[in-house]
């Protein structure tokens, strides 16, 4: 029987094998409905561990001005996400603007910019007030991720912060290993916003 089946021409044999594989896959749940995976929710002041950095979101502030930074539009305001970040990769990194996003906040200028794609306009190392710093492996630092928000947009009471990670893999063109595929890996829901504009 088996020999007779195997002696069939490939044009008949292959579709039969494919159908059999699909049927067997169905027996083991291959045709089951898969729900979208839920992103893990992390509480404020809790470390979200991952690569190439660990991130602990500690708060959000809205301020009218920041030393050394100029608003693009008079009357706009700054939204600052405060977080402690520790590089877990093997090298010092300065791509920290990829670590945090706040897409639920309306009126962010960088969200309207095709190049910025919602990245913060500045990342400031609070120790020493350094803009766009390198962070070293194993040395956690407090950072402020800064966005400009339009004056016409409402100041949020609380914000869900997205924590993004990257994947170390070979570049499909060059073969060099590097960090690619920035992707949201966790959320910090309902982080209270402190409005410091009048303080």
């Amino acid at each position: 029987m088996i020999l007779r089946v195997l002696q069939q021409p490939a044009s008949r044999l292959l579709p039969a094998v494919a159908a059999l594989a699909l049927a067997v896959s169905g027996l083991f749940g291959g045709w089951s409905r898969v729900d979208d995976p839920q992103l893990p929710a992390v509480a404020p002041d809790t470390v979200d561990e991952g690569v190439p950095w660990n991130v602990t979101v500690t708060g959000i502030r809205v301020v009218a001005e920041l030393p050394g930074l100029d608003l693009q539009n008079r009357g706009d305001r700054w939204v600052a996400v405060l977080a402690t970040v520790e590089v877990t990769a093997d090298e010092s990194r300065n791509d920290l603007a990829d670590a945090v996003r706040i897409p639920s906040v309306a009126g962010l200028l960088s969200a309207e910019d095709d190049l910025a794609k919602g990245r913060p306009e500045e990342v400031i190392l609070l120790r020493g007030d350094v803009r766009g710093p390198y962070l070293n492996p194993g040395l956690p630092e407090k950072l402020a991720f800064i966005w400009e928000q339009r004056a016409a947009a409402a100041v949020p009471k609380s914000v869900t912060v997205e924590i993004w990670g990257k994947t170390l893999r070979e570049d499909s063109l060059t073969g060099h290993r590097s960090w690619f595929d920035p992707q949201v890996r966790a959320t910090v829901p309902d982080v209270p916003v402190q409005d410091r504009r009048k303080a």
């Binding site: 010092s92 350094v130 766009g132 070293n136």
Partner: protein
Amino acid sequence: MSDLGRTVVRHRRPSAVRRRTGGAVLVLAALAVGGLVNSRTPDTDHRERPFVATGAVGRSVDARAFDVTVQGVRGTMKLGRGANWHDTGGVWVLVRVRLVARVEPVLVGYAAVRDSAGRTYRATSRIEQPLDGRTLQPGVAVSAEVAFEVPPAVAPTLALRLAGPLLDQRMDAMAEVPLGITAAMVDGWLKDEKITRLDDAEVA
């Protein structure tokens, strides 16, 4: 099956099943050999790694476009630069180097220290380093300190790495000098509360 004491061998055309089985075995064998070769071949990063010339403190190391000599190492918790001082969550490591361009003007764009686990710590961007943007002229020796910020636990395993290219050091020369830091030196730095000022660059 025998005729006059001799064995008669019949030559038959192999069946379709045998042909297909043989073909499948050949394909699997080719895949296995290819996989084996692939697994033993160095990857791109290894193949295009920097050409590292290793030396020792006090001895000149050839980094193709320039020579480097590590003259000494200091450490501190409070780094003075300009009118300010800077604290750290780890420890500051200050490496004094003497650099000489060999043939043409050179910018030493890459300075880092590497620990025994392979982690690399770039020269700090928190301050303006004395060698930042400084072009070395051939034959003119320049001495300066370079500041690094590292976790104290890794300091005794550090080696300095210097190269010309700022961003991409692949397939170019790189000087590497183990710094010879001891745990006792690090303990002393951690207890030192005075401000240590970074030495400026000077023609040596």
